[in-house]
């Protein structure tokens, strides 16, 4: 084992994938200069591990700022023998290529009756929580969950980020990975040797009996903090990180809810049609009998992301908001001040559409 940051783990997975298979290429804006820290060894070209030095300009390619053709060309290349990893930098830029994602990447294998193979990974980083304002703070994975044909990966730890990315590159289906920048610096233990984590296998982060929290991306550390604080009051909380949203490990969540009878879903995406909405519906359909209280979602309210730190911070699932939600599902008196979590949930449902 070695200790690595989340970002370092992504870089390590990319390096291993490039070394393992000459058909793997990396394309994206500013990837040659290692601007986002996943395509190099350090700040200088002479630093050990510089991708351009290691793999050459045929396999690591700076692109123009043309997301539509970046995504479409990666798809076309995947259909004809390459295994591209596309670095789209900010997740908000995916919208520029919506047609290619929805009409080509997701549909080509299906429409052409299985003739097309689509081994391509689209990586993007969600900069929410870092005062980047409305144009750079998106968490768009639920939109893509609504597109059959795509696989959606949302790692929350260095270990998962590395192992899931290796699996994504191996996959003959298109995979979108959404990386939370707020987790970039998180350190964790990562095996020295190569390993892969199957898509569709949730991780039980913490065992507990009184309530289940399904937490996504940066909500995972927030849920752990909530579970730890409630443990002091003798409340035992199970935390599940699905790690991938498509495919989704339904069984793991259902099994847990059958035991705890209570569910909180913490999801940094906007509330309406969020991943949390889908997970809640699924549990309501498949484990209704086990539920001893209504499901509670802790999401980002349906408002745009404001710039001012004093406005932005309150919006995402936090330790206190998740704590509050857990207290609600287990029927305990809540302790939040009036501008706290309960108000946020109400805000979420009342936000103008």
């Amino acid at each position: 084992m070695t200790v690595m940051s989340y970002l370092g783990a992504i870089g390590a997975a990319q390096r291993e994938a490039m070394e393992a298979d000459p058909s793997v290429v990396i394309i994206g804006e500013d990837v040659e200069a290692n601007v986002y820290g996943t395509t190099g060894g350090g700040k200088s070209r002479s630093d050990k591990g510089d991708f351009l030095q290691m793999f050459g300009s045929n396999r690591i390619r700076n692109t123009p700022i043309s997301e539509e053709v970046i995504v479409g060309a990666a798809a076309g290349a995947a259909m004809t023998g390459l295994r591209p990893i596309v670095d789209l930098s900010y997740s908000s830029f995916l919208y520029m290529a919506m047609d290619q994602f929805v009409n080509q990447v997701a549909k080509n294998r299906y429409m052409f009756g299985g003739q097309a193979s689509m081994p391509v990974v689209f990586r993007s980083a969600m900069f929410y929580g870092l005062n980047t304002g409305a144009h750079h703070s998106d968490r768009p994975y639920p939109m893509f969950m609504n597109v059959p044909g795509l696989k959606i990966v949302v790692p929350a730890t260095p270990y998962d980020a590395k192992g899931l990315l290796r699996t994504a590159v191996d996959s003959d289906d298109p995979v979108l990975t959404f990386e939370a920048c707020i987790l970039w610096g998180t350190k964790g233990e990562v095996p020295e040797e190569e390993y892969r984590i199957p898509l569709g296998e949730a991780r039980t982060v913490r065992r507990g009996d009184d309530a289940t929290v399904v937490a996504i991306s940066s909500a995972v550390p927030a849920a752990i903090a909530a579970a730890e604080s409630l443990a002091e009051d003798g409340i035992s909380v199970e935390v599940i990180d699905p790690r991938t949203l498509v495919p989704f490990d339904t069984e793991a969540v259902i099994r847990s809810v059958q035991r705890t009878g209570r569910l909180v879903v913490a999801d940094p995406a906007h509330r309406t049609c969020s991943a949390a909405a889908e997970i809640s519906a699924m549990v309501a359909e498949e484990a209704f009998e086990s539920l001893r209280a209504p499901i509670v979602r802790v999401t980002t309210p349906d408002t745009q992301i404001p710039f001012s730190p004093s406005l932005e911070k309150q919006l995402y699932p936090s330790g206190p908001r998740i704590t509050e939600a857990i207290r609600r599902v287990i029927g305990q008196p809540t302790s939040m001040p009036s501008h706290g979590a309960r108000d946020m949930d109400q805000l979420a449902t009342q936000a103008p559409r």
Partner: protein, 328 residues
């Protein structure tokens, strides 16, 4: 350019295959034997075949909604194409594509696209893989004059130019996008736009002449194969039928005299005359060729009629390599 008699006869054969296939498909739409509608390439056969025959066997191609001519021009067997139009299990896409989304990977046809312009980046990516893998394949993107105003074309031309990708951007300028005359929505000349990307742009003024199209595209393909990068070829042509079969527009957006002029220069008739004049084939040989093609289309329809519809479970196949979620 000196093309062998066999090659010239093959050009005529492929143009005829497109014509007779599309004529049959049109009839089948009107009789309700093909669900939905189709867009025919009738009138544009020289433009399609001249381009396809300039490509080699391993080369790639993408297309658009006017979709049958491209795979036929590249040499696809007709049976699975016709079966696909009807939605049969033996269709080239197993009945999940239909007319708008034909693809025949066995001949390098990477897919037609129902979204105007959307397949251009795919062809560009195929050219990227040829370049990275250094396998010598060239890619060709067919798109209409309407698609020429989509932004993704210019993203693709820029990327292909800067990476010197082996691709030909082929604009089938049939002068209308549905009811809209190209000149009313297109600033300047499409071929001239190539200059802005530092690539050759040529305009084939007579797109009814299969050899002229072949020449222009062949030059572009050779350049691509030499590693010198992309080209834009604009071919002026005309569709004889309505935008799609069965479509009845309220206003007469096309001058019938204009149409008549283009019908007079039917690419198949023009080339037939030329083959006879040049002594490449006799009228009897060409009649026999036509009969063979008609028989081939008959067989394709027979194949289609004899084929079953897909099992309902097929609707859930091929979304992923392995079914996931509720489909697993």
């Amino acid at each position: 350019m000196n093309l062998s008699p066999q090659t010239q006869l093959e050009m005529q054969r492929r143009m005829l295959r497109i014509r007779r296939f599309d004529e049959r498909a049109s009839k089948m739409v009107k009789r309700g034997q093909i669900p939905g509608t189709v867009h025919t390439s009738i009138g544009q056969e020289a433009q399609v075949v001249g381009a396809c025959m300039a490509l080699g066997e391993g080369d790639y191609m993408t297309g658009n909604h006017r979709s049958h001519g491209h795979p036929i021009g590249k040499g696809s067997p007709l049976g699975p194409l016709m079966a696909e139009l009807v939605g049969k299990a033996t269709g080239v896409c197993g009945g999940k594509g239909g007319s708008l989304h034909l693809a025949d990977f066995s001949v390098g046809s990477l897919g037609e696209s129902g979204i105007v312009g959307s397949s251009i980046p795919i062809a560009t990516g195929a050219a990227l893989s040829s370049k990275v893998l250094d396998n010598g394949h060239v890619s060709l993107a067919f798109f209409g004059d309407g698609a020429a105003n989509q932004g993704c074309l210019y993203e693709a031309m820029n990327l292909a130019g800067v990476w010197k990708l082996p691709i030909v951007f082929l604009c089938e300028n049939n002068q209308y996008a549905l009811s809209t005359p190209a000149h009313t929505v297109t600033s300047g000349v499409i071929a001239d736009r190539a200059a802005g990307f530092g690539m050759p742009g040529v305009r084939v003024e007579d797109g009814q002449d299969v050899l002229a199209v072949y020449d222009a595209v062949h030059t572009a393909v050779r350049r691509a194969r030499r590693g010198e990068g992309p080209s834009l070829v604009e071919v002026i042509t005309y569709r004889y039928n309505e935008h799609s079969e069965g479509l009845k527009l309220g206003t007469d957006y096309r001058d019938q005299a204009e149409r008549a002029q283009w019908v007079e220069r039917d690419p198949i008739v023009v080339f037939r005359q030329r083959l006879v004049d040049d002594g490449v084939a006799t009228a009897e040989q060409l009649d026999a060729l036509e009969a063979e093609v008609i028989e081939e289309v008959d067989e394709a329809v027979q194949f289609t009629n004899d084929s079953p519809f897909p099992d309902p479970s097929v609707a859930f196949k091929d979304l992923y390599t392995e079914p996931i979620g509720a489909l697993a």
